[in-house]
Amino acid sequence: MVKINKLLLGTTSLLSLSLLAACGNGDEESGSEESSDTLSVWMMGDGNETVQPIFDAYTEETGIEVDLQSIPWSAAHDRLLTAVASGEGPDVVQMGSTYMAEFTDAGALLDISDYIESSDALSPENFFEGNVATTMFDDNYYGVPWYTETRALYYRTDLLEEVGYPEGPSNWEELYDAAVKLSERGDNMYGFDINLKEQTFGPMFAKQNGSEIINEAGEPVLNEPEFVEAIEYLHSFVEAGATTNQDLGIELSQSFGGEGIVPMFISGPWSISMIEDQTTDIEGKWDIRTLPEGPVSNVSNTGGANLAVWSSSDHPDEAMDLIEHMVSVDSLMTYYDTTSSLPALVEAWEEEPFQDEKIAVFGEQLENSEHMPLIEGWDRMSQAYLSSFEQIMVGGADIQETLDNLNEEVKTIIE
């Protein structure tokens, strides 16, 4: 029995030790143990393929080694979470714009305002406004815009021509009219895709109708007339059978290619290569245009990612130097070549690839594109919105009533 007692004692003391240790763990342990001539960098996706050439050039120039860790997109949040928990992160990290608020709030990212102010290359004026907004919290900067995304309207030129809009619909009325006419082609034919899983879809239309999401007083305004009207407008597509309120469970090649079950949809630049890769039968039969003009504007939704310095980094100076290298035109062009991600640096848009007609549309749309509110509870808020939007579009719930409830729910989330 003695042995057992020892065993139990050993186990419990080990447990309590680790419990204490885990709780006592804080910022005193710093991120990297490497010497100052190595920087650790976390990038999402296959970094070997996409960013390694940029780092190789940097190492050649400065002699500083870059230790890259690529993180699968699917596990990015988990990995960042554990880094926050242990305080041990990289020197430079790629941060999706929607992650910025929560991770800044958690103190995971370094305030780099001083660096930004003292560098011409990193000056906010060099980048698209919508992206700069995602790096700024309480008038301080926590990141440098890296690549950008915005949404535009994809449409089948051949089918739209048949209903009288060869250039695609240019405003809300035309969008509705075109969608209804297209849906009259037959059973299981639709005009326009309303994305029930996209958190920014409804809010983006609301903005085009002059609505805010969160007003200056910090209160949600999701049940005000401007917002409600926009949702009613989207719901009218369901009523007219111009959109499907079911997930068709099909790929782009099936919905957009072929006979064009859904010949208009809103998406970001990534869909260009998806259409080119996946469909073979509609070459020359599709195009992209800026979003149809709403009653107030045709503002789109900005996304993308920033580069940030982890708060526990031992080498912030070197990290910022690397970031400066990464947002140079040369580096951004390398990144564009390997990932098709659009640079957030305005200057880079003078380069040749961005003169391409289709891509230039996104350049044009970026002039009129904003990010969704950057608040810590955005994820929860958008989950609540998605659920309400589904109730309206699929479940046929009363619009005003549902949005009233949503607004109340969002109020408690923001508090």
Binding site: G45, D46, W73, A75, R79, T82, A85, S253, G268, T280
Partner: protein, 273 residues
């Protein structure tokens, strides 16, 4: 076994074949899609067999994966997993054939560990491993999943099926407890070791989360992590994914077929076949 005649055997064979055919479709689709182009996979007219066989997916896969590193890591982690199988067997044996204090409580404790979703425990476990200095080590990667309630429980149930007399006989000859376990119990449990072995192999071979989270650089990544890296932010190259999945499943099939032999050579009191 139940004796059956030829006619019944053929009927059963046909029933199983039809049922099996439906069951195996997604698996077959996965393998065959590895030889398709991506547009073909997502085309409006899906077909099981590729219109045109291509090996480009495999070529791209092997070019882009740090294959040598990932394969070695995966093999090491899988091999270490088998230590856990052995620990599970020991614990299962004790729960089945010994009476000791707190036995029921401890067993319920073991079962309880099955009942909590992994996401809840991820962060505490990570912090613990971090404190123990096990980040960036193979040990850190395998420890969290080394033993598991499922395995212990499975062994316990199996050992409970074996009559106590087998072990008593050995003990009367003066064998120690360890001898009984290694030389009597383990050899008797070949079928269940084979089942557990298959599961252990698959778990190790597919390990994803801990190699990713414990590693501070890519030199500890496994094939699964490497495969996930190939996935873009928007949309997926299904052809590449299927090539990876098809490649990863080959060793599993080999192991399955090898181990299956042991499932069938189970011990039989009457002397077997």
């Amino acid at each position: 076994m139940i004796n059956i005649d030829k006619k019944l055997k053929i009927i059963i064979g046909i029933v199983l074949s039809l049922w099996g055919l439906i069951t195996v479709i997604p698996f077959a689709w996965m393998i065959l899609s590895a030889f398709k182009t991506n547009p073909e996979i997502v085309s409006t007219q899906p077909s099981l067999f590729p219109n045109e066989w291509t090996f480009d997916n495999f070529r791209e896969l092997f070019e882009r994966l740090n294959f040598d590193v990932y394969l070695v890591n995966t093999a090491i982690i899988t091999a270490l997993g088998f230590v856990g199988l052995f620990l599970n067997a020991m614990a299962g044996f004790a729960f089945a054939h010994y009476d000791f204090k707190f036995k029921n409580f401890l067993f319920l404790l073991v079962l309880a560990t099955m009942m909590i979703p992994g996401q809840v425990t991820m962060i505490p476990v990570y912090l613990l491993l971090n404190q123990m200095g096990l980040t960036n080590t193979y040990l850190g990667i395998v420890l969290p999943g080394l033993t598991g309630a499922f395995g212990i429980f499975l062994f316990r149930q199996f050992f409970s099926n074996i009559s106590e007399e087998f072990f008593e006989a050995a003990r009367l000859d003066g064998a120690s407890d360890f001898y009984v376990f290694f030389r009597v119990a383990l050899p008797l449990s070949k079928p269940i070791i084979a089942v557990q072995g298959i599961l252990t192999f698959i778990a190790g071979w597919n390990s994803f989360l801990w190699p990713l989270i414990i590693a501070n650089d890519q030199s500890f990544y496994t094939l699964s992590v490497g495969l996930q890296l190939l996935q873009g932010q928007h949309g997926t190259n299904y052809a590449l994914q299927m090539a990876g999945a098809a490649f990863m499943v080959i060793p599993i099939l080999i192991i399955f077929i090898i181990f299956q032999k042991y499932i069938l050579t189970g011990f039989n009191i009457s002397g077997g076949k």
